[in-house]
Amino acid sequence: MSDSVVLSTSPIHIRWRDHQVDLPALQVNSGCVLGVMGPSGSGKSTLLRWLLGDVPNYVQVQGKIYVCGERVDALPIAKRSMGIVFQDVLLFPHLSVLDNLLFALPAEYRKNPRNDQVERVVSELEQVQLVKYAKVLPTALSGGQRARVGLLRALINEPRVLLLDEPFAALDQSLRERIRDWAFQRCQERGIATVMVSHQHDDFNTTTENQVAVMQWPESQL
């Protein structure tokens, strides 16, 4: 695992309505996880939306974002090299599992013949024992399967940073731990910097070798 910095920010000031939150500069190395923990509604997801490049207009955020040393906060979402998995996973309901993953292949890979693309997706599905669900629509999957496909879809795009917005919250305890460890392990193997928000401390007690730093969300100042 490389220790090079993948995601870094300047100190961040988030202000909305009568709330203000000041965060220190963040830094996440390759393969490492930054856990952001705090109560619901405290603005954790807003941090992820800001990193992704989609801040609601009632929120003002000041700060700079760097990915592998390149400043990205003026770039559109498509150019930031960040993947996101939401709590409700948001697999495209009109596409099969296979098509969801084909859709997410990196742009340069999408130029290859379709057979090559399918082969790549199937090999990824084989690793997670989901290959028999390739032709199935997301509505036919269980919660755990949906979460795995959602994570796989984010990872197959080869982002440098993965943002996880409580993606395991809807799963039961044992399933949550298994899927989280699986996701963290893959991020470590691929050198992806991960930022995960959660309101449960257990979510960061991983058995994998990732370096996990947990940041407690500060209280609002106004």
Binding site: D54, P76, G83, H94, F103, T139
Partner: protein, 541 residues
């Protein structure tokens, strides 16, 4: 999305500028003309008060009855077939009614119900109701307006109900000991009425200012004001055209008053429901609730009516030697088609091409409007977006005449504001429920905003997009006033040809045009009907 403002400018230029043209035209009229003299001439015109009362009464009667019927049937509209997540926006029967052009409806129902029509031949009983359908009274116009506006309002009611968690409200009501129908009337109806405010205003303004239908349905009565305004404009005499503009301005004021009437009606029903919340039902109210069960049958009745009307048109077109009181014609043939096809097909093709152009432009503008709202995270007031439907059409068209030329392109432009507004009515409610994070998710995979829109949002919103496109096409096909006035008679379409024929007494010929219009609209709907099952799953919450 990059440069949302630049994209919005396209909408403003195509739809906003024509509306803004009202300001200099009205200013010119007010400052450069002898206003008081024109107004005196208008008021002194023979039959002015009759024209005014005909317009106002038609609007009030249509609005009140359509509101009542829509509300009593609202509860039964949301059936299995009508729920979008269970297979389609509305059933095929519904689409049949919606596809029925108002003029085709008018021809068929007037022929059915006229004193020598099919209905009275089937039931040969003398009835005092018979003469009312003889195109001599405004009643025939009212009935046609009601019958045509009701399906539109049902369509809007369905869209509004999809936005209300009324099933949970009914559950809560039941858990608190109220009957389902009481909860429906006291809780759901007031909320529904609020959401129907603008569609009801559209119904009121349309009924107030309708020209083509009034020309056809009640030609032997003193004309409503809108019809007289159109006739003044066609006289090509400067004084008459001044009267036309003054009359259309008066219609604008009346349209504002009608919108006020809609709000009053809403308040009245709201207060009535509030009063009922805290007391038990009176005998009349209990009776009213029981009677409202007829609403269950109204939509079905309309589907059957559409089938009967279609058969009536077929019989009229293909029947030969059909004299009163014979139930069926002496012989059936295709002679009328063979004789008239060349003329009919010419208008039909032109209508179709114009409609396709108009619908394509309208849909693009719709999408831009919706995405601008998303990008700016602010909503443009719905009344502003629907302004083309809330301002009398004849007034807008008279304003546009000096700015336009009698060419096809200008006719297309003149159709766009109206088609755009109807397309928005069909598209926006579904778009606002769309989970926009799907787009963000796609963009994280390296797609640009519009690539992501095409690959993700378009298929997920396929049903409302196609419905909006179809509605925009149907609206364009039915346009009479903008086509005839902006085109200056040089862009004949099926609708303008039909209205030109309507003053004659050849019912078979009218039926031929009516049937062609209907078939054209039906073909549009069949071709555009969405086929994919999961296309509406992106509409969430």
């Amino acid at each position: 999305m990059r440069y949302p403002h630049l994209l919005l400018i396209i909408v403003v230029v195509i739809v906003g500028l024509p509306l803004l043209a009202v300001v200099p035209s009205v200013a010119n009229f007010v400052w450069n003309q002898d206003l008081s003299n024109v107004l005196i001439q208008l008021v002194d015109y023979p039959g002015f008060t009759t024209m005014l009362s005909h317009s106002a009464v038609a609007a009030v009667v249509t609005l009140t009855i359509v509101t009542g019927l829509a509300l009593v049937s609202a509860r039964y509209l949301y059936t299995e077939r009508a729920q979008p997540h269970k297979g389609g926006s509305v059933g095929m029967g519904w689409m049949g009614i919606l596809s029925m052009p108002h003029l085709a409806f008018a021809v068929a129902i007037l022929w059915l119900a006229a004193p020598t029509g099919w209905l009275w031949r089937l039931v040969p009983v003398e009835s005092p109701w018979m003469p009312w359908f003889d195109r001599q009274y405004m009643v025939s116009l009212w009935i046609i307006l009601i019958a045509k506006e009701l399906p539109f309002l049902w369509f809007m009611t369905l869209r509004a109900l999809q936005q209300l968690p009324f099933e949970r409200w009914l559950l809560v009501g039941r858990s608190q000991g109220h009957s389902e129908s009481r909860t429906w009337w006291l809780v759901v109806i007031p909320a529904l009425l609020q959401r129907l405010r603008l569609p009801l205003c559209v119904v009121a303004v349309y009924s107030l200012t309708v020209v083509d239908l009034a020309l056809f349905a009640a030609p032997q009565t003193p004309a409503p004001l809108a019809v007289q305004v159109a006739q003044w404009q066609l006289e090509f005499d400067p004084q008459s055209q001044l009267l036309a503009f003054a009359g259309s301005l008066l219609l604008l004021i009346l349209a504002g008053l009608m919108c006020g009437w809609v709000c009053l009606q809403e308040r009245f029903i709201f207060h009535w429901c509030q009063r009922l919340l805290s007391r038990s039902l009176s005998t009349t109210e209990s009776w009213l609730f029981r009677v409202s069960v007829v609403g269950h049958y109204l939509p079905k009745l309309f589907v059957y009516l559409a089938i009967v009307l279609f058969i009536a048109l077929l019989a009229l077109v293909h029947g030969h030697g059909w004299f009163y009181p014979a139930l069926v014609p002496q012989q059936w043939d295709l002679a009328l088609w063979q004789r008239e096809w060349q003329y009919v097909s010419d208008g039909a093709w032109r209508s179709l091409w114009i409609a396709m152009g108009v619908a394509s432009i309208s849909l693009v503008l719709c999408v831009i409007t919706a995405e601008w709202q998303r990008a700016r995270q602010q909503k443009i007031p719905r009344a502003l977006l629907l302004l083309p439907l809330l301002v009398p059409q004849i007034f807008l068209v008279l304003v546009w005449i000096p700015w336009s030329q009698t060419e096809l392109l200008w006719v297309v432009w003149a159709h766009v504001p109206f088609s755009y507004a109807y397309a928005l009515l069909a598209y926006l409610p579904a778009e606002e429920r769309f989970e926009q994070r799907y787009l963000q998710q796609s963009q994280t995979f390296g797609y640009s905003f519009w690539q992501a829109w095409w690959r993700t949002k378009r298929p997920l919103l396929q049903v409302p997009l196609l419905t909006a496109f179809a509605l925009a096409m149907l609206v364009s096909i039915a346009q009479y006033v903008p086509t005839v006035f902006i085109g200056g008679g040089r862009v004949p379409t099926l609708t303008t040809d039909f209205v030109a024929l309507s003053s004659g007494s050849n019912v078979s010929m009218q039926a031929l045009y009516a049937l062609t219009m209907w078939l054209l609209c039906a073909v549009v709907l069949i071709l555009i009907k969405p086929r994919r099952k999961n296309s509406s799953e992106g509409e969430m919450r």
